[in-house]
Symmetry: C2
Subunit: 208 residues, 2 copies
């Protein structure tokens, strides 16, 4: 049987090197390429045509992980993409799965989990770390708490500290509309003030 070819995408040399070392212990898995950015990832995926792309979502400058996933899916749809990242942020998980990720692993995953995910991915199985799976499950169970795309967009700008007026300008909508969206966001997040909304947004969507 041919071994599974993998391309690693992560802006941290240490992490790439660690993955390479770990995956290298498995006879049926071969790392055929590496990339440190979204742009490089596209190149590497084209050049090496791997079975699996294992990538981080957060990539310093340039294209972010989600965007890279989308483009990879378009250009080389046969490759399975596994997200390998530090945080189990709700937003990231949904967006990554939405963009076409096959699996979602956290960086504190045990080596065996990583191996299993890579092997599963080539068979079309999707593997996620336990905390990730439970978060996804929770989101499916409480559809009332899911923000609409527009609301999510607004919330993300909110976390930059903008006023209602600024939000309106930025999104080309009236201040009234901003207030409407905000009211809905507050209700969904279970808070009453923008301050609390920002706090929960950053803590839940952002990072921990």
């Amino acid at each position: 049987m041919t071994s599974i070819s993998v391309v690693l995408v992560d802006d941290h040399t240490v992490v790439r090197s660690g993955l390479k070392a770990l995956l290298g212990t498995q006879a049926d898995i071969a790392v055929v390429g590496e990339a440190a950015s979204g742009e490089e990832a596209l190149e590497a995926a084209q050049q090496h045509a791997p079975d699996v792309v294992l990538m981080d979502l957060a990539m310093g400058a340039g294209m972010d992980g989600i965007e890279a996933i989308k483009q990879l899916r378009q250009r080389t749809p046969k490759q399975a993409i596994i997200v390998f990242t530090t945080y189990d942020s709700d937003a990231d998980i949904v967006r990554a799965v939405d963009a076409g990720a096959m699996g979602y692993l956290l960086k504190d995953a045990a080596p065996e989990e990583i191996f299993a995910a890579v092997r599963g991915a080539v068979q079309g199985k999707s593997v996620m770390s336990a905390p990730v799976a439970s978060r996804l499950f929770q989101q499916l169970r409480n559809p009332d708490e899911i923000l609409t795309p527009r609301e999510a967009e607004l919330l993300s700008l909110l976390t930059e500290g903008l006023s209602n007026r600024d939000l309106g300008k930025r999104l080309f909508i009236s201040e009234a509309t901003v207030k409407t969206h905000l009211a809905h966001i507050y209700a969904k997040l279970g808070v009453e003030t923008r301050a609390a909304a920002i706090a929960t947004a950053i803590r839940r969507e952002g990072m921990r």
Copy 2:
């Protein structure tokens, strides 16, 4: 010349494995032990008596990195401790240096930077990643921007989304005093609204 012995502390197997692989390429550096938590770190440091401890600050459960640094400094003061972490948060940097860290590297550091830090540490040199150094420098240069203890306390509660009234109750001061403190905080942070203050506070102190 004897080689430099290093103990790695990080709860991510991948990162430990990556560091081991990278450091393994250097003839004068030998990884003699690993630990996945603060508690294990103390054990490993005692057992292997390494020249250098390279450790992450964020460690899932149990003792955090800062606490581990403090205890290491007490028990085995001769070992140089280098922090190796993902974020350059102001608070973490100050606390780590305060606790006795010799160096502060970010995980996106180039391998050469890591080697240099390890070699420097045994000679008593402190090495930090450029962004880290610039943050420290900035803090020293702009004492005006340093919050007083009371202000910091307020800011931390602010990031929980409390109203002025609630802040007052929580701190046993009047709403007027809360407003005064807030005005000072805004000025020091360079923002105009509480929303922006929360955003910068969480991003600066916490994580990004």
